[in-house]
Symmetry: D2
């Protein structure tokens, strides 16, 4: 099957739906993004790339960065990790404190905000410069050596991220944050502020489709650890709509409020789709539709 042609076909079919959904408005740098943008990039396991639409435009990856911080944690922290963060779907909004209170400060999984704060706390503990290490990892995997944190985005998040700040202090109070909450938040907001294009993100995520090996042969994670990240992406990667996403798309994926979704079909490809309009659950509305067509047309999903 010509996956490049399929991508272009999908982007064209959905042309009329550009702009659907609601752009995230909680900080100005996100609010002013043009809602009609829409891009797709797919990288096959052998490195073959396919693009369609605005696949080369950089956007704020936001929560997709949680995949890379978890990868760092799985490289460096290992077993202690799962004592401090769970691996179950949350069943509640991504920024809910209710679950944290009921379960004594242990976030349900590493892909909700509270969980990513704990993961960030853990990598800050064991890496000399966690922000830079994460940036280096993403640069290496994506090949985008000029990828950088968007300082304006990070500053705006810090200035308005009261709920995240509450969460960090709450976990500090419940004993599940070791470092200074302000330092953890600073690193977390920077990770979220990373800007990448669809093509760069699809490249960066290819190791998840290649049993943990990057295209240059580097072993990022073991095959087993890679399967486990994919499992968590499938059960926890799409906010409070994981069941619906699995039902409609059927791929391990992680979405972000910037409108990006990174998904993989292990053994076949990684794919990134981006369109800023979100649905009620916070996932890219057009993005899900595009991925739904991709697995429907190819007949291939993990199921």
């Amino acid at each position: 099957m010509d996956l490049g042609a399929l991508l272009r076909e999908i982007v064209q079919e959905l042309e009329a739906e550009r702009g659907c959904g609601e752009v995230a408005r909680y900080i100005p740098p996100l609010a002013r993004v043009d809602p009609r943008q829409f891009g797709m990039a797919l990288v096959e396991c052998d490195g073959t790339c396919h693009v369609a639409g605005d696949a080369m435009t950089r956007f704020s990856i936001q929560s997709i960065s949680k995949v890379f911080s978890l990868t760092l944690a799985m490289q460096h922290v290992r077993d202690d990790l799962w004592l401090r963060v769970g691996r179950e779907p949350s069943g509640t909004r991504f920024n809910s404190l209710v679950q944290l209170e009921h379960e004594r400060g242990i976030p349900r999984n590493p892909f909700i905000n509270a969980g990513a704060l704990v993961v960030t706390d853990m990598i800050l503990e064991c890496l000399a410069d966690a922000k830079q290490t994460l940036l280096d990892l993403v640069r290496q995997l994506s090949g985008a050596m000029d990828a950088a944190f968007a300082e304006d985005v990070a500053q705006e998040e810090a200035a308005t991220g009261h709920i995240n700040r509450a969460m960090a202090w709450f976990m500090k109070g419940l004993g599940n944050l070791k470092g200074d909450p302000d330092a953890v938040l600073d690193a977390y907001f920077h990770h979220c502020s990373l800007s990448l294009s669809c093509l760069e993100l699809a490249r960066a995520g290819l190791y998840l489709a290649r049993r943990g090996n990057a295209l240059d042969g580097t072993c990022v994670l073991s095959p087993r650890a890679t399967q486990r990240i994919n499992a968590m992406m499938l059960t926890c990667g799409a906010y409070d709509a994981v069941g619906d996403f699995a039902y409609r798309v059927g791929l391990p994926a992680k979405s972000g409020v910037g409108g990006g979704i990174l998904a993989v079909l292990p053994g076949h490809y990684s794919v990134c789709v981006w369109s800023p309009g979100l649905d009620a659950a916070g996932n890219s509305m057009l993005g899900i539709r595009a991925l739904e067509r991709l697995t429907e047309r190819t007949g291939l999903s993990v199921f």
Copy 2:
């Protein structure tokens, strides 16, 4: 890889762990089951069968029956189905009424008790004899023409199933149960009471690995519908431990409190493991360990 040899190897390695976990004790027919039983059966997509341990002993399939009632509903009810039951992991115990109250009587998914009651209500609405139709389906798929409901189990469930009765009346009160709650409960308790062996269950579930086709070529469900059932099994099939199950095993699966687990690797095989001792989440403790070894040794899971 010789899957039969692998099965026997796994059963032998776990020999010392027979009897671990806690047998379900809420009704006498379950409580008096010998906890040291342990069987595995795997059926490849071409029909090749492999067995190990107590693979030919029948046991109470309990919640695994929810896969078959959902299959009937997907054959007969179609779209209305998803207006009355969700498809998200519950995030709470399988018999919780809290979620029902917060979400106005719409159960989170068809694999928790409340969801299965709604599914049963729907098939009772559109089939002349829903109990018999389900029994016929299971007999046909498993090849076990003498499979039958265990009346003593069904009666005991009815006599002690106060929480399920509460759930049915609660949904009746919230408008999401059309029929008589007592009739719905009767059918539901009968479905749960079905007895099958590992080999019979693995055969019965093979259509989930064969894009909806039974071994005799009958189309049970379309490929897309089959992918969707698999998706729901992965995100909702292991009670409140779906994330952990996906992380450790990585297969779509449905477990029951009788100690059985039915799992599939689409395109490869269906597998059933049974051992009555349960973990805290209500899944077979030895069963999960056996499946974990299966996907670890073969290196193959959906991820």
Copy 3:
């Protein structure tokens, strides 16, 4: 102060507001009540009676009956009572199952539905004919020897009370209902169906203002037990609006969805107000306004 004149003044001032609020519509006998009715009756501790408006019209006392079933339980059950029902405000809707699930079937207090079901179960256990005993108590206290259960109301409640039925089965499942749920529900629905006028109810409740003594000198409860019922009426008697009621009115009280409110100022009087229109919390809208004026004008509340 001339309390009779004050009552007539209040009823006259609120003339324009007759019909405000929403009449309970869940069963026809309640739905067809004329919403513009409004009556008040106050009985002083020495037996002096004052009436205004529709004070002699009988209405369905509904949850106000919970005061009398609790009184019976405090006469007959004693200490065991508080092992099976709490005495804290619920913090949730009167028919919520969430609290029951979180607190293992122990209702928060005797004035929410679940609590009254447990109280009813307890008096059914220790009285030969609990329905008749409650009716006799109310007849004796109110002097209305022809007071009776409204069978049509009781039947309608039984036919549509699915949520109450769910609650009874849920507590049965959690071990906090000893008898047959259907028998408990039958007695409970009958208690709720009692019809009394404002004057009859104010007379019936006078023992609460007289340290437990009825007007004829009979000791209904000890002074200490009476203070305790009053305490529970104040902290739990107005559904999920007890704080607001205490703030605005400042009297121990119990309301019902029929639009009645029975309140007492210990050492001074008992008062009953009735108007069928309810506010969002389920309390009589005009009733609260009338009681608010009563304590404001007299300057006297328990505070």
Copy 4:
């Protein structure tokens, strides 16, 4: 009745129970308090004072300060107040964030921590120096012109009060905190750090028993506003045990984790009891027992 003799009798009877309960240990200044201390002071409406036990020893009043900050708010803020804080019992722990999340940042009442933070925010908005104004009020009412904030207590609270900090940021995020969370927390922690003796506190609270008038005739609050504070103390003043406290004691009261309880019988007296050992709900264990005997022996409570 000789109330002084009664107080001494109660303190003597409970001699053997000194030291019961658990002293609050979350900050060193509270943890090192001698648990065997026990004092009572009662001030009648005419100013007559009675003391027994350690009634002249100062202790950390903690949450009892919420009565005085609410009094300031009712003097200065008025109606806006009840748009930003409710007046219902919480039904949950005093430091729970769950309720806040479910009810969009509006705390249930002014006596839980979140509610007191909002009250503090409001008085900081309208008073030039809120900390000093509160201190002046307490000095004037208690006659203890040397009463002061315990800086060490305030500093320790600030250093370890992560949950309160989380709460403040959470409400900031939900739009119900106008000022700088750090400034609000600083004032709040100072208010809690006030040290007073039983006699000083009973004197300070006397206006609540005197329809809002201090002993020197100053009008602190109107009679209606005073009844309302008393109503809220009764329905919300004893953490998550208000129903039990009303049942056993029957007085409007506010407790603190320092082991103090301030209670009033309007028209009769204000009383303060102190003993550092707390029960599971966070109220002074010996304190409640002492107040229970007081209302039992006198036969007088608000009910």
